[in-house]
């Protein structure tokens, strides 16, 4: 349903999320994100392989961005191929994209 892959060999380190970011997976996802944030100073969260997202998943993205704003670490969330899907749910929920959610993974 959901899988994460944390690659610390990349600079910056990259957490790939694959599958659904939904209420059913947010607990596991939360744990993976916490681990990744704790381990490195600079992190890219790639949503390229995300296949679905609901309000609980969206909330978690906001929490990541909030963490990035507060902490001294550099965290970027890159939507990649999931950009359209994320735009849709943001628009549907009447929410504005958080600041750290932008750009392409190559940037």
């Amino acid at each position: 349903m959901m899988r994460t892959e944390f690659d610390t060999t990349k600079k910056p380190a990259q957490l790939d999320i694959e599958g659904e970011m939904s209420f059913a997976t947010v607990s596991d996802l939360h744990a993976a994100l916490l681990t990744a944030c704790d381990e490195v100073e600079e992190l890219v969260v790639s949503l390229d392989k995300v296949t679905g997202i609901d309000a609980a998943g969206l909330q978690l993205l906001f929490a990541v961005c909030r963490y990035a704003e507060k902490s001294k670490k550099t965290v970027r969330v890159v939507p990649g191929a999931a950009a359209e899907r994320i735009d849709r749910i943001l628009e549907f929920s009447g929410l504005t994209a958080p600041v750290c959610l932008a750009g392409d993974i190559a940037q």
């Binding site: 209420f23 939360h30 609901d54 609980a56 909330q59 929490a63 909030r66 549907f92 929920s93 009447g94």
Partner: protein, 707 residues
């Protein structure tokens, strides 16, 4: 130049239309006192008259209307039931407002009218208790009132709601997905969702299975507040939900603006008025200032700004739709258009004739193309002139009510086929004849409750006005379930007056038609309403003047039906041009069943005055003989079979020429008494042609056969 006159004149016109609507709502309420649409409609009419009158400082009118409106606020709020007495009084008030409107033309109010205002106001005040007076003491009902009650927004009518929705923290866990609720709301109308994420903690602190989101939703819908609340039915115990009406389609709110940013924030309880005041005094951008001072977050400011823009857009759209879908045009302008189109049609006929004569292919093709376009313009101009007969029929509701009351009778009026459309001019011409017929039906037809009960009928009589299409005509029927006409008595009266002889060659219909003779009445005593023998001849004359006919069916103690057949439009007819001698005649196409060569038709009957038309024996009329046209008869006369209400006759003419579309002009004095001719047209080449009065010819021919 302003075509519709000064703004005050426009107001008067609109107010008169509103008074007509008010009367219809009151009549409907009398039938169904719980009809919410009529209660709302009556209130709206009064509210608009008062509000618009206020703009012109028409104090007498506004003051009086205000009291009546205040009573209807009580009715609308369910605090006052609709009673017969209230309807009586309200109808009087409606008439009085009409008088006050007329008084605004002279600018002076005579003492009698002022005294009437006072007396009626006193009567209305009795319906108001102290509390209601205070509530409605303001100017314009809802728009000044506080948060409206649920019941106020249950009916149709577009409203914009501000819904503040904070799902319970455990809503994900309980399966109450807030996005599904947003989706359901979106299905009700136009929506703007403003999501708030400010409560979402950072990654370290978040409980990912909890919900931290909340929304302010602006929803514009005509579904009513209950429908909005129903969406939240499964979460109302756990979520925080606040629903407010922030905008509604009020006829008096003409401006497209909306509240200022600070007002929205105060409205939402996001800032207190004191803080707002202190921020405003520093004369900077209010939004920036409020954020800077820490009174509100940027998210709250953005949300309020979105609300402001949303409601402005909704209002602007509403105004655009209202102004762009209808415009008012003076009837005279439409008449002029139809006349010009008629001239256009005639002119085209001339062009087509020239094209034919010159035998020029290009010229003919152009004339044909032009014909197609003209037909479209013609149809459109006629359509513009059509109005539903409801306008005519609903005007009689008050008459029936008042008249039956005066005559101590119980009469219910039923309207059918009110959507049937007729030329506005035809409607105007029918107003008086129908009024007369309805009066007669109530006065002479429908019996008193006592008599009806003795006859085993329900004490309340029924008068039915119906309309339906029949070919190129419309049939209007006035049907009562009264005593019916006494045919024998009419016959006796006819003999006494020497209108008919005592032979038995008259059919029941012939005898019934006697009631249309001038001065004919069987009533021993004339009443205030009818019975003086004046009127039915005028009724027939008026109906015939618009190309119509009238028939009667009656049965003793069962009732009477008067059927009026009238052409859909007076303006332009499609006809078949025919020739008799050197004269040309136009026969309305809508009456024509078939055209035949006379030599192919077998004659029947003893004197050879009938034809066998497809197995049916039908009388015929030789128009050459009928109109006394001199000269030799045609070698191959033609037969045109026409029918009115299934009654067929054949008309013999010398030759059939072509289909012809034309404007009918009234006849001058010379021809006005010629039976069988109803009008004249001028052909494209300037020659005149006469329009045959088929209805009359059918009657004359069939009467002749009977003799």
């Amino acid at each position: 130049m302003n075509e519709l006159g000064s703004p005050l004149e426009t107001f008067r016109e609109e107010a008169r239309e509103l008074l007509e609507q008010l009367e219809q709502h009151l009549m409907q309420l009398e039938e169904d006192p719980a009809d919410h649409d009529s209660i709302d409609g009556a209130f709206r009419a009064l509210h608009t008259i008062k509000g618009s009158g206020n703009m012109f400082d028409l104090d007498d009118l506004v003051g009086f209307t205000h009291i009546v409106e205040a009573v209807f606020v009580r009715v609308r709020d369910g605090k006052l039931p609709v009673s017969r007495e209230l309807i009586d009084l309200s109808l009087q008030a409606r008439d009085h407002i009409s008088l006050l409107l007329t008084a605004t033309e002279s600018g002076t109010l005579d003492t009698e009218v002022a005294e009437r205002s006072r007396l009626l106001s006193v009567a209305f005040e009795e319906y108001l208790d102290a509390e209601t007076s205070a509530v409605s003491g303001g100017v314009a009902g809802k728009q000044n009132s506080e948060a409206p009650k649920d019941s106020e927004h249950e009916s149709e009518g577009e409203c914009t709601y501000r819904i503040e929705f904070t799902p319970a923290a455990d809503s994900f866990l309980t399966g109450a997905n807030p996005l599904l609720i947003l989706n359901e709301l979106a299905e009700l109308g136009t929506i703007l969702k403003i999501g708030y994420c400010e409560a979402i903690p950072d990654l370290k602190e978040i409980e990912p299975e909890y919900c931290y989101l909340r929304w302010v939703i602006l929803l514009t819908t005509d579904q009513g507040e209950n429908a909005v609340r129903d969406v939240f039915i499964f979460v109302e115990g756990s979520a925080e939900i606040k629903i407010d009406v922030i905008d509604e389609a009020d006829p008096l709110i003409g401006e497209s603006g909306y509240k200022r940013l600070g007002e929205i924030l105060v409205d939402r309880g996001e800032i207190n008025p004191k803080d707002l005041e202190s921020a405003v005094s520093s004369k900077s951008y209010i939004g920036e200032l409020l954020v800077k001072k820490g009174f509100v977050s940027e998210e709250q400011i953005n949300s309020a700004l979105q609300e402001q823009n949303y409601v402005r857009d909704i209002r602007e759209n509403r105004r655009t739709v209202e102004t762009s879908t209808t415009i008012k045009v003076k009837v005279e302008k439409l008449d002029e258009l139809v006349n010009l189109v008629g001239e256009f049609v005639t002119m085209h006929a001339g062009i087509a004739m020239v094209a034919e004569r010159k035998n020029d292919q290009d010229f003919r093709a152009a004339a044909e193309q032009m014909e197609g376009l003209i037909r479209q313009v013609r149809d459109l101009s006629i359509e513009l002139h059509m109005v539903p007969v409801e306008i005519l029929f609903s005007g009689y509701r008050r008459l029936v009510r008042d008249l039956s009351e005066d005559l101590s009778k119980q009469v219910q009026l039923k309207l059918e086929g009110t959507e049937t459309e007729l030329d506005k001019n035809v409607i105007d011409s029918l107003k008086d004849p129908l009024l007369h017929i309805i009066r007669n039906s109530i006065d002479h037809g429908i019996e008193s409750p006592e008599v009806r009960t003795k006859k085993g009928k329900p004490p309340t009589g029924t008068l039915r006005l119906s309309a339906y299409y029949s070919g190129a005509s419309v049939v209007i029927q006035v049907v009562d379930d009264g005593a019916g006409m006494d045919v024998e008595r009419i016959r006796q009266k006819g003999i006494e007056r020497g209108v008919i002889d005592s032979s038995d060659r008259y059919s029941e219909q012939d005898i019934l038609q006697l009631i249309f003779a001038p001065g004919f009445s069987t009533n021993e005593e004339a009443t205030n309403v009818s019975g003086r023998g004046v009127g039915m001849d005028v009724v027939r004359r008026n109906i015939e003047a618009i190309g119509g006919s009238i028939r009667i069916q009656t049965e003793k103690d069962v009732g009477t039906t008067l059927s009026i057949r009238i052409p859909l439009t007076l303006a332009i007819v499609d006809g078949l041009l025919s020739r008799i001698g050197d004269s040309l005649y136009l026969i309305n196409l809508s009456y024509i069943v078939e055209c035949l060569d006379l030599k192919d038709v077998r004659t029947a009957g003893n004197g050879g005055d009938m034809i066998d038309f497809r197995g049916e024996i039908v009388p015929f009329l030789d128009l050459r003989r009928y109109f006394g046209v001199e000269g030799a008869a045609a070698e191959h006369p033609q037969l045109v079979v026409v029918a009115i209400e299934e009654k067929k006759i054949g008309l013999v003419v010398d030759a059939l020429l072509d289909k012809y579309q034309s404007v009918i002009k009234s006849l001058g004095k010379i021809y006005e008494r010629v039976e069988g001719i109803s009008g004249a047209i001028i052909l494209g080449d300037g020659k005149p042609a006469l329009m045959l009065d088929v209805d009359r010819l059918v009657k004359v021919t069939r009467d002749e056969v009977k003799k």
